[in-house]
Amino acid sequence: MGKTKIKIDYSKCGNATGGIDPRSCGKCLFVCDPAVFVRHPAIGVKEENPYDPRCWQVTAVWLDLCTRCGKCVEVCPQKAITVSW
C-alpha cells in the first residue's frame, strides 16, 4: 500500500483563515475509527495565546493508520477534506 495523503483546506476549516471553528465541529475526529486526526492549536499562528479561538485547527497525523474508508470526506460539512493515495 502506498502512502495516504490527507489534505485539509484551512480556508474552509479553521477560524484563523475564515473557515468554521473546528472546536465546534469535530465530526471528522469522531467518525474516524483509527483516530487519525488531531485537533490542536496551530503552531506559529497565535502561539502566545492558546485560548484564542482562531488558532485551532485539525491535522491528519497518523496517516499510515488511515484505512481509506472515506467517512471523513463524507461527514465534513465544509467539504474541506480530501484523501488521496
Binding site: 469535530g26 475526529l29 475509527d33 492549536p41 485560548y51 497525523v61
Partner: protein
C-alpha cells in the same frame, strides 16, 4: 522487575514508592514552570517538529531504512529522558505503565499527593473531540491544570477526595478502560489515567509503532480451564486483542505475548475463572514489558 523499578522503586515497584509522589521531589526538580509550559500547548506535541521531525505520518517515517531507526532511537531516548535539561514543548520523560484496578485504588488511597483533581482526558479530546472527565491528576500537576479552562469539567466537581477518585476509577473500569499510571517527568508521578485504544496517545505509540510509552503491567492474565464457562464476556473487554473464544475448547484462550495485564477480563468474569499472575512467574513473558 523492570529497570524503572530498579532505579526508582526503592526495592519494589516504581509506582508504589511514596517518594515518587512527594511534593519535595517535584520542588527539587523545579517542575511547576516546566509543567505549566508543557500543558499550555500539549495538543501540539504531535504537530511540533522535535529535532526536525514531527509525528505527522510517523509510521512512514519509521519505515525508512536508516533514518527510521534513528528516529525510533531518538524518540525512545526522549520519552525516557532523565536529564534535568528537559524541554517543556516535548514529552520528555513522560511514560507510564498499565496497572490493575486494585493497584490504582491503592495508589489513590495511600500514595497520591493532595490536591486530587479530575479533568478532561486530553488524548480523547484532541483525537476524538470527546470531553470525558476520566483523568485523575494529583500533586503539583493539579494546580497547573486548574489554570487551563479547556481541561476543567463542566457541571462537575473538579477537586475530589480520595474516595471519590477511587469511585471514579471504578466507574471507568466498569466502562472497560485500562488504568495507567504516569511519570511526568520521570521520576515524578502525578497522574492515573483510564485509557482506551486507539485514541490514547501513549497506547497508540506503543501498539501501533512499538515505542515504549506505556509498559505492560507487572501481571498477565491466566484462565482456569475448569471454571471458564465460555460466556465470552471477557473477550469484548480486551482492548489489546489478547483474548479470544475457542469453539473447539469451548472456553477462552489468552495470548500472553499480547496481554497487557490490565485485569479488565478478570473484573468482568462471572465465574472467577481468570486471575492475574505476576509476569515474573511466567517464563515466556518474564521481563517483557
Amino acid at each position: 522487575m523492570c529497570k524503572w523499578c530498579m532505579k526508582h522503586g526503592a526495592g519494589g515497584k516504581w509506582y508504589l514508592n511514596a517518594r515518587n509522589y512527594s511534593n519535595e521531589l517535584a520542588e527539587s526538580m523545579n517542575l511547576r514552570a516546566y509543567l505549566e509550559e508543557q500543558w499550555r500547548n500539549f495538543e501540539q506535541v504531535y504537530i511540533r517538529k522535535i529535532m526536525g521531525v514531527s509525528s505527522i505520518g510517523l509510521g512512514y517515517k519509521l519505515k525508512m531504512p536508516i533514518i527510521g531507526r534513528l528516529i525510533r532511537w531518538s524518540v525512545e531516548r526522549m520519552i525516557h529522558s532523565e536529564s534535568p535539561n528537559r524541554n517543556p514543548v516535548r514529552a520528555d520523560g513522560h511514560f507510564g505503565q498499565v496497572i490493575p484496578i486494585e493497584e490504582a485504588k491503592l495508589i489513590m488511597m495511600n500514595l497520591a499527593a493532595e490536591p486530587i483533581i479530575r479533568n478532561y482526558c486530553m488524548c480523547r479530546m484532541m483525537q476524538k473531540g470527546i470531553k470525558d472527565a476520566c483523568c485523575i491528576n494529583f500533586g503539583l500537576l493539579s494546580g497547573v491544570i486548574e489554570k487551563l479552562p479547556r481541561f476543567i469539567p463542566e457541571n462537575m466537581k473538579t477537586r475530589i477526595t480520595r474516595e471519590e477518585a477511587v469511585e471514579a476509577l471504578e466507574e471507568q473500569n466498569q466502562k472497560g478502560r485500562v488504568s495507567t499510571v504516569w511519570f511526568q517527568p520521570v521520576p515524578y508521578i502525578n497522574a492515573i489515567c483510564s485509557c482506551e485504544v486507539p485514541q490514547c496517545g501513549g497506547l497508540r505509540l506503543r501498539m501501533d509503532y512499538g515505542l515504549y510509552t506505556v509498559y505492560k503491567a507487572e501481571y498477565v492474565a491466566e484462565v482456569n480451564p475448569d471454571l471458564c464457562q465460555g460466556c465470552k464476556a471477557c473477550v469484548a473487554r480486551c482492548q489489546f486483542g489478547a483474548i479470544r473464544f475457542s469453539p473447539t475448547l469451548e472456553r477462552v484462550i489468552i495470548d500472553l505475548t499480547k496481554c497487557f495485564g490490565c485485569g479488565l477480563c478478570r473484573d468482568i468474569c462471572h465465574y472467577n475463572a481468570i486471575r492475574l499472575v505476576p509476569r515474573d512467574e511466567v517464563p515466556g513473558v518474564k521481563g517483557k514489558y
